[in-house]
């Protein structure tokens, strides 16, 4: 379970005023509090530049928040405090987390296995299991640089699986994938949910989120504009689907901003 409390992230932005360049500070993430429990898929939605990726990076321990805190609790409710232990418990995947192009999937997974300090037998067993589950036998020994987009994304999923984390943070995992690969990833998320894992994911595909997510946080301008189950969001905004709800929330937010 992950609990984020009042998270803020401040960035500097250069603004040109005539000849002078002035640096102004702004909050990319502005007092965001969210939660995700075991066996839950939580969606983070919002337009580009809303601060979704920054938020997920803070949750994934790639960035430290300027303010606020992130708590990570394991299945028995104990809080993890050690940074390394936290990273072990999180499987983080985004468009920017590339894999070593000069390694094959098998080699890469073996490297991860050693890094997670598994025994040799365990490593080999896990690798074979993962390759079978993700249907990667054909290209498991090819260099990653030679793989197609879909194959690479499956390899990335394999990377997360190797650690067997309790929390998955997936930043637009289905972006740019064909229907087959995207479906493979969606069924992967469902499976993790069934296994009692926590899945936090951001997406722009609202139809996908509507059927997949247990709860949704709508992020606009760095803060939570609305949250709840897809149904709750739709009834709040008196709309019929998530896409309409999204527009309604966004428009209201923009009006608020103007006023």
């Amino acid at each position: 379970m992950i609990i984020a409390d009042n998270l803020c992230k401040e960035f500097e932005r250069s603004v040109k005023k005539g000849k002078k360049v002035q640096k102004t500070k702004f909050l990319a993430v502005d007092h965001v509090s969210i939660q995700a429990k075991e066996g839950e898929i939580v969606g983070i939605l919002g337009p580009n530049g809303a601060g979704k990726t920054t938020l997920l990076r803070m949750l994934g321990m790639l960035m430290s928040p300027t303010e606020g805190s992130v708590q990570l609790k394991n299945a028995s409710g104990e809080e993890l405090t050690d940074d390394i232990k936290k990273k072990e418990a999180i499987g983080y995947l985004s468009g920017n987390t590339k894999l070593y192009p000069r390694f094959s999937i098998r080699e890469y997974l073996a490297f991860l296995g050693e890094l997670y300090e598994y025994g040799e037998e365990e490593i080999n067993k896990r690798i074979e299991d993962i390759i079978a589950v993700l249907n990667m036998e054909e290209f498991a020994d090819n260099r990653i640089e030679k793989l197609s987009t879909g194959q690479t994304q499956r390899a990335s999923i394999a990377r997360c699986l190797m650690a067997d984390p309790m929390l998955y943070i997936l930043d637009e995992p289905t972006l740019g994938l064909d229907i087959l690969s995207a479906d493979a990833i969606i069924s992967f998320m469902r499976k993790q949910k069934e296994n009692g894992k926590t899945v936090l994911y951001s997406t722009h595909y609202l139809e996908e989120a509507e059927v997949l997510c247990d709860r949704i946080y709508m992020i606009c301008n760095g803060h939570v504009a609305a949250s709840g189950t897809p149904k709750e969001l739709m009834s709040q905004t008196e709309t019929n689907n998530l896409r309409e709800a999204f527009h309604a929330i966004y428009d209201a937010e923009m009006k608020g901003e103007m006023a």
Binding site: V21, G60, L62, L99, Y100, F111
Partner: protein, 668 residues
């Protein structure tokens, strides 16, 4: 530990699969060295032998006095043909068909013959012919002299009341090594630089560009482990390049010596197998520590660069500095001693010269190797501690160095960040090492002035540029009430302790101490006012502003008083570039920094620093007066008793001084 090993393994595999890097690391040393060395020698041999074959013509006018001399010259030439630089043939104006290389004109002036050789210094052939003909004429002159002496009935010794000859004790192989050492040092350092630079760029900025760095940071790996694993992997490749280079170099030299030229082989007969083994081992050790150091330097720049292009931009000036440092060995008068041994890379270059001349001073060699090793560990340790993955990954990597911003972007009262401090100190160090040392070669006194100006100017300029509040940062304030007595007691105690420790160190490293006192002797020749200004007043102001103002002030802001005192003291000690002075000056630095922290003022430290330096200045200038006033200080070596007394008195005074200061601090 297992994680670090896994990471190192991964980095090595990653580098090994990059063909470009491998080519530079393996092909360059293994093919370039032999081809340069063997190729050059073969070409030179060919040029020389073709010169030996060539016959150069000496032309002379018909029907002159020359025709009488030529037969004698011809005879002398035939007698001494072997010893001359080239072959000559004498042709008169009539016999000449094509041109001539030199022209000989001889005139009879009173009793002497006057010979003129007309040649063109721009023409190689003409030059050769000229020197051969000159030699020949010299021989002829001797012959004429002998005849004259005989006529007068005098012995040949009459003209030679003194016969002089210098005998070189160095063997041929030693002097050859000496002349080769400098340039080979440079070649090796440059190859190691290439061998370290490419993998360093590949696994730092390359990893960032390929997008795998973000992935690596999601894994359970600390920044420290990550930097260390990369450093270890790159330095292994740099070491491999070093070893390959030495093998290739040695191989091609052996090939030349035993395969091509038997003359050269004869020159190497004198070397014992033992010498060769020692030489090779020391060479390897020196080159491996050099590889570690160069890797550390490369990593510093690559780790913070955003792209390969940026890494290249940062590295270009660094490469120039490294190559410049590696060429110092080619300067004939610069030798490896306890002072030059402390200058990174320059010491390796000098060491190479010493090693190849088979001059093994193991103490200095040991210091050189240890110093380079220590430098690399320190650099990489600081780097690993400073590395902030978030900055490097998502923002401008050099954010911890704010100096690169435009001045207009700074707010008033900006405190230098740790990166700025480190960079300023490195700049000062480089300026002192290279500019200061260069001036010191001419004049130690001028070198000291230059160093003091550098130490003063850099912090002042940096803080001006950053619009820092200099009054606040440098503690330009009145000392707090009642802190002066405690400061003086603490200082005197530290001074006594320093004396005791210096006494022990001088016994441990006598050669290093000798170096220090020698450079002081030169300084002591200056007038006393100048000495006081340069050696006491300037350091009191410059060094206090730099170490107790800039460095201490900046560090305090980030790490708090305790660490600021310790770190600034260590840097202050290291700055004095001497094994014997390191610990005592660090203690003085800690004492002065502590005084600043309690009194809130830099002025007490400045006065004490002035007194401290002036005292030792005057002691050097007027040793006799001092011997009367303070007999203890005049002793060349302290006895065990003296050392213990100094230590005791020092400790007692320190333990009085600190509480005195603390009391005042708590009052306010």
């Amino acid at each position: 530990m297992r994680r670090l090993r896994t990471l190192v393994k991964k980095e090595i595999m990653d580098i090994l699969r990059d063909k470009k890097t491998l080519i530079i690391m393996v092909i360059v040393p293994l093919l370039l060295y032999p081809s340069i060395i063997i190729g050059m020698t073969l070409v030179m041999n060919m040029v020389f032998s073709s010169q030996e074959e060539q016959v150069y013509t000496v032309g002379y006018p018909v029907a002159g006095i020359e025709e009488e001399i030529i037969p004698d010259l011809q005879r002398l030439y035939e007698e001494n043909e072997e010893e001359l630089v080239c072959k000559l043939t004498f042709l008169s104006e009539e016999e000449l068909q094509s041109g001539h290389d030199v022209w000989l004109l001889v005139e009879q002036r009173e009793d002497s013959l006057y010979a003129e050789i007309a040649y063109a210094s721009t023409d190689q052939a003409s030059n050769y012919a000229e020197s051969a003909l000159s030699e020949l004429l010299d021989l002829y002159k001797e012959e004429l002299l002998k005849e004259k002496l005989n006529e007068e009935g005098l012995e040949e010794q009459f003209l030679q009341p003194l016969v002089q000859k210098s005998i070189d004790s160095a063997t041929e192989s030693e002097s050859m090594g000496m002349s080769l050492g400098g340039s080979i040092g440079m070649l090796l350092i440059t190859t190691i630089l290439l061998g370290a630079f490419y993998p360093a760029v590949d696994i730092t900025t390359g990893e960032k560009e390929r997008g795998t760095l973000e992935t690596l940071l999601t894994l359970p790996v600390t920044n420290f482990q990550m930097i260390m694993s990369k450093y270890i992997a790159v330095s292994m490749f740099a070491c491999a390049t070093a070893v390959l280079s030495i093998v290739a170099l040695g191989g091609s030299v052996l090939f030349l010596v035993f395969g091509v030229s038997t003359e050269l082989a004869a020159e190497f007969q004198g070397i014992s197998v033992q010498t060769v083994i020692v030489l090779v081992l020391l060479l390897l050790l020196a080159m491996i520590t050099t590889a570690l150091l160069i890797t550390a330097i490369c990593m510093c720049f690559c780790v913070f660069a955003k792209s390969n292009k940026e890494a290249n931009n940062y590295m270009t000036p660094v490469m120039l500095i490294i190559m410049f440092a590696s060429m110092v060995g080619m300067i004939p008068s610069v030798e490896l001693n306890y002072q030059t041994a402390l200058i990174p890379l320059v010491n390796v270059s000098l060491l190479m010269k010493q090693l190849l001349a088979q001059h093994f001073d193991f103490a200095v060699i040991g210091v050189t190797i240890a110093v380079n090793f220590a430098y690399s560990i320190i650099i990489i340790w600081i780097l690993a501690k400073m590395y902030d993955s978030e900055n490097v990954l998502f923002q401008d990597g050099f954010q911890s160095i704010r100096l690169f911003q435009k001045r207009s972007e700074f707010e008033k009262g900006t405190v230098p960040a740790v990166g700025d401090l480190v960079m300023s100190i490195v700049v000062i160090l480089l300026l002192v090492l290279y500019v200061g040392s260069a001036v010191s070669v001419r004049s130690t006194f001028a070198g000291t002035i230059v160093n003091q100006v550098i130490i003063f100017a850099v912090p002042v300029l940096v803080t001006w540029y950053m619009k820092s509040n200099q009054k606040e940062l440098f503690s330009f304030k009145k000392p707090k009430k009642g802190t002066i007595p405690g400061s003086i007691v603490l200082y005197l105690g530290t001074y006594c302790l320093e004396m005791a420790i210096a006494g022990i160190l001088i016994k441990a490293f006598p050669a290093s101490a000798e170096n220090v006192s020698m450079s002081f002797e030169q300084l002591a020749k200056q007038p006393v006012i100048l000495m006081l200004i340069v050696m006491a007043l300037m350091p009191a102001i410059g060094e206090e502003i730099c170490f107790r103002g800039f460095l201490y002030g900046g560090l305090k802001n980030k790490y708090g008083v305790k660490w600021a005192v310790v770190l600034s003291a260590i840097v202050f000690g290291a700055f004095h570039m001497s094994l014997v002075k390191l610990l005592p000056t660090a203690m003085l630095g800690a004492c002065l920094a502590y005084i600043v922290s309690v009194s809130g003022s830099i002025y007490i430290g400045m006065v004490l620093h002035f007194v401290n330096n002036a005292f030792s200045m005057l002691q050097m200038k007027y040793p006799d007066v001092f011997a009367k006033l303070f007999p203890v200080f005049a002793k060349p070596e302290l006895t065990l008793g003296d050392t213990l007394i100094f230590m005791g008195v020092g400790l007692i005074m320190i333990s009085i001084g600190i509480p005195l200061l603390k009391k005042q601090k708590n009052k306010t």
